[in-house]
């Protein structure tokens, strides 16, 4: 029963996308678009809820099931089915995807109202939801990879939504290519598994891996590293993170859904899903954790200097995913998923509010042309404050619990954990600082010079309602797992986390970390207040020239883009040019030309002997006689 329902969940958004995509060249009525676009996802969400409660009502051991449509391919011992897996992990993801997705798509009905290609937007959003669902529901690595790539495609389409804008087109391409790199990592990992285990089903792989691959060997490490290449590309981890800030070229709801709440956390999902493999690969896991920590720190520093409201949020997303990846690398799978959940709420919230602000300012995104918006947009102010508090880890907002769980449990997870936990704390300070920097500069402080051309207008109910819902979730979402009080998420995910080391922080650590992170958040907020709000923003102006080198370095985003361009892109391009201009005409063409040259030269030679003189012919006879005689003697 819920098996078929799973297919309904998956296919409804696809149906929506197809209906919208093929409804003729003429733009259909917007109402119809809304119904098809939002309705399918709402139904999908409803079905997901049914599945969720059904599973909730079952015994813990009975909460995973696979439903197969047909045998997709059979290659000797390797059998691949088109099959879906319903288990607590995938259902959790589905809930977020369809739930948050529904809110964001509903929000878009108003936000995108004035754009052309209204229909295309919803078709692509629906397609994204379908792909993302496929990613999390797949029962084997092949369909995981397929979903993985299709969300990349959807992301490409939506980043490049304004396809006549060159920057959007370039950003879309960059995102796609880096994601293909990630796909390749996944695919390679799948090759190793297929070759070593002869199966690509989760059940098969996770069942056979401990026995056949062993612990800490080269093969599991290789698999884990390759999988992480995919995860890093999708989840924008250093050094494959450069596409995500550029991806803000897409419409804001896209940023909220794809580049904050769902798709970019797929990497986290992957690592958590493959917990069995990562437990077999301690070194790879450490590497994952370190990459996450490095990412969270780098991204947080960059976020402190961004002047575009969406880019602040983008870097903050990179940083927050860094937390999750770090957690997953340390074996804190529940922590990672917990942070994923709360992050989905508050980051979607922040993006949507940013959208409200941008909408109010008719497309303006620079925060230095904002200021004092509190009086125009009170709801936005309040909800942003909730979001900022949540992300900064101020109790009792959602982010506090999830971040704290990561930092606390990390502290008790060995030496590396301690170091990373400290990095996390530093990150927390930075997080609070840049979030409130944005908050103060947008809503407080002076209005930009010359004031606003049009008075900022608050948005309608379709945009406001999802924002409020998300604000509520950001406030209370953390309560599903409160240290020492309840462990609902731990127990819910237990079935999926076959190799969960189930790290628990000691009470002492819990309390120490809580205190530390509250202090960190307070420090960050205080610093931001001191610089940006305390005296009406004048101090900011005074400090603008301070530390120019560092500032430049951060504004250049740690110089990743030019370095990658020089090191990776340029050589390929130059090689291609060399091949086309150099080798094509002279090398391979030269093979032909050489052949033709030899033949022509020989032909000239033949012609030259052919001078028309009788004597030459007679001479030929004599030469021929000699040749014949020689051949006769030598040939015997």
């Amino acid at each position: 029963m819920i098996g078929s329902l799973a297919w309904v969940v998956l296919l409804l958004p696809l149906a929506g996308a197809l209906v919208l995509g093929f409804s003729g060249s003429a733009e259909p009525p917007k109402a119809l678009t809304r119904v098809a676009g939002v309705g399918t996802i709402a139904l999908s969400f409803a079905a997901t809820l049914v599945i969720f409660f059904t599973l909730l009502g079952r015994d813990a051991d009975d909460r995973a099931l696979t439903t197969t449509a047909w045998r997709w391919a059979e290659l000797g011992p390797l059998r691949i089915d088109l099959a879906l897996l319903l288990d607590p992990l995938s259902v959790l993801m589905m809930l977020v995807i369809t739930g948050v997705g529904m809110l964001i798509v509903a929000y878009s009905t108003e936000y995108m109202n004035h754009d052309r290609d209204y229909r295309r937007f919803f078709a692509e959003m629906d397609f994204f939801i379908f792909a993302m669902l496929l990613l999390v529901m797949a029962a084997n690595f092949v369909f995981l990879i397929i979903g993985w790539a299709l969300v990349g495609l959807a992301s490409y389409l939506l980043i490049g939504y304004y396809y006549d804008r060159p920057s959007a087109v370039a950003a879309a391409k960059k995102a796609f290519v880096i994601n293909v790199l990630g796909d390749v990592g996944l695919v390679l990992a799948a090759f190793v598994m297929a070759v070593k285990l002869d199966t690509l089903d989760y059940a098969g792989v996770f069942g056979l891996a401990p026995e056949k691959l062993g612990h800490g060997g080269l093969i599991p490490e290789l698999i884990a590293v390759l999988l992480f290449v995919g995860a890093a590309a999708k989840s924008a981890q250093v050094p494959l993170h450069t596409w995500l800030p550029d991806a803000m070229e897409g419409p804001t709801p896209v940023s909220a859904l794809i580049h904050a709440a769902t798709m970019v956390t797929a990497g986290v999902y992957l690592v958590v899903r493959c917990n069995v493999l990562y437990q077999l690969a301690p070194h790879a896991s450490e590497m994952v954790a370190i990459v996450g920590a490095v990412t969270l720190f780098i991204a947080a520093t960059i976020a402190t200097v961004q002047e575009d409201i969406k880019r602040v949020l983008a870097w903050s997303t990179v940083s927050q995913i860094g937390y999750m990846i770090m957690a997953a690398g340390l074996g804190l799978y529940t922590g990672a998923m917990f942070h994923f959940l709360t992050h989905a709420f508050f980051k979607a919230l922040l993006f949507l509010v940013a959208g409200v602000v941008i909408h109010a300012l008719v497309g303006e995104q620079g925060i230095d042309r904002m200021g004092g918006l509190k009086k125009y947009l009170p709801v936005a102010w309040a909800t942003t404050l909730v979001g900022c508090l949540a992300i900064s880890g101020v109790p009792p907002f959602a982010g506090f619990f999830s971040k704290d769980e990561i930092l606390a449990r990390a502290w008790d997870a060995g030496d590396l954990g301690k170091v990373l936990s400290i990095v996390g704390l530093v990150g927390a300070v930075l997080t609070a600082f840049y979030m409130f920097r944005m908050f103060f500069r947008v809503f407080h402080g002076p209005e930009p010079e010359g004031g606003y051309a049009h008075a900022p207008h608050p948005s309608g109910p379709a945009m406001t309602l999802p924002v409020i819902v998300l604000a509520v979730l950001s406030t209370v979402g953390g309560l599903i797992q409160v240290p020492t009080v309840n462990h609902w998420l731990d127990s819910w995910l237990d079935v999926s986390l076959m190799a969960d080391p189930a790290l628990e922080a000691s009470h002492a650590t819990e309390w120490r970390t809580m205190t530390m992170s509250v202090i960190a958040a307070a420090a960050g907020i205080g610093l931001a207040w001191f610089i940006f709000a305390a005296d009406g923003g004048r101090r900011r102006v005074q400090m603008a020239g301070a530390m120019p080198a560092l500032r430049r370095f951060l504004l250049d985003q740690w110089r990743f883009d030019p370095v990658i361009d020089d090191a990776v892109v340029a050589p390929g391009r130059d090689l291609g040019d060399a091949a086309y201009r150099g080798f094509e005409p002279y090398g391979s063409g030269g093979l032909v030309r050489g052949g033709v040259g030899v033949a022509t030269a020989a032909a000239r030679l033949v012609r030259a002997t052919q001078n028309g003189l009788v004597r030459m012919s007679a001479f030929g006879l004599v030469v021929g006689l000699i040749v014949v005689a020689a051949a006769m003697i030598l040939g015997r």
């Binding site: 032909a603 006879l621 006689l625 040749v627 005689a629 006769m632 040939g635």
Partner: protein
Amino acid sequence: MNIAALPMMILIATAVVALVPSLAPPGRVRHLGPPLVSIVGLVAAAGMSVLLWGDRQYTFYGAFRTDRLTVLMTLIFIASALVTVLMSLREPATVDRRGEYYSLLVAAVVGMVLVAGTGDLIGVFLGIEILSVALYVLCAMEVWRARSLEAGLKYLIVGAVGSALLLYGLTFVFGATGSVSLEEISDIVRVRGLGGEPLLMGGMALVIAGLGFKASAAPFHMWVPDVYEGAPTPITAFMATAVKAAAIVAFLRVFSGALIDVVDDWQMPLAVIAALAIIAGNVGALVQQSFKRMMAYSSIAQAGYLLIGVATGTLLGVRSLLYYLIAYTAMTLGAFILVAIREREVEDGQSIASLAGYGRRSPLHGVVVTVCLFALAGFPPLSGFIGKFMLFGAAVEADLTWLAVVGAVGSAVSVAYYLRPIFVLWGEDPEPGNARTFDPGDGLWVASVLAGLGVVVTSILASPLLDYCREAAQALIAP
């Protein structure tokens, strides 16, 4: 004398009778008489030959033998001559000397038949000389055209040297064995074990040179492009097919027939000149602007392919060679017919450029020549392919794989020049100057159709034809 020599007798009579209408006053008889007499005579001889298909018969005290090989070759010669007659109906060269022209043509066939059926070395030489002398004259027939005259004279001088080499070689063979009879020579060579005998080897070298010259193998080929270009086109076609066939059959009679027991002595030189011919012909043809001259080089290369069959010295080789000879005759005639047409129609008719767009204007000739050129290039499933394939097979079987490879590479090169006229025929637009100025005559239509049919029929009926070829080859090699 018995019936065995009847076809040759008919041909001799035809040659004589063809002169008679010239005595008539100018008019239809004088104009159409000689070709008609020739056609009737040739057809009669062909019919007679067909009746003779069977076991070997001797005549002239063994000097002439009619076996299946003789018959098959006679038919090839006659077919080539018939098409030549049709091509010549409006040939400028025949104006005012029609009797002589057709008489000489038939006389040349007589020489060829003599070569094919000869029982001794004298017949080889005599036959070759009869056809050569006739052709010297035919080449120079258009005495008012300097090129024709030049071709005739060059052919005569160089040809005479070639004949002398051949003669000297035959003399040595005679000297080494003490007999002129081919059958006796065969016995003597086998019984006495003359392999490696210097006199015999010298003789064979000279014979190879002399006959190689007639067959236009390299490096004895230098006269070929000049003479082929200068001679009247029907005569060129006749030389490229029948004369070459006569030289090849002389090779067969002397080497594969009489000297088969010293095959080790003559295999390598033959293979070498075959390879050289393939290379020189194919390479030389690449840069030609004149279609006629290109076909001359092509015929050099084709001689090389034919010689592969001789060089193998095996039944399979001979049989493949015979089949390829039939196919080659049809294809080459088809190509030369187009030259004849174009040179009568337009000023610059021998050049490839003059063919521009001709295929669209005259699809029949276009298709025929296209098929012929594809066949020459060895595209399957046409007969040229089947023949080449079998020749390569024979070469591989005789441990001459390198020769097959040379042949294969040569064929690949040859595609480049065979396709050039085809492209011009179909792929380019006609130039306004290429309009037709002179009616080439109906004979060419018939000839064209015959040649095209020849290629198609040899392709489709490959199996029965190959059967006949095997029987003919057995007649040569088996006692």
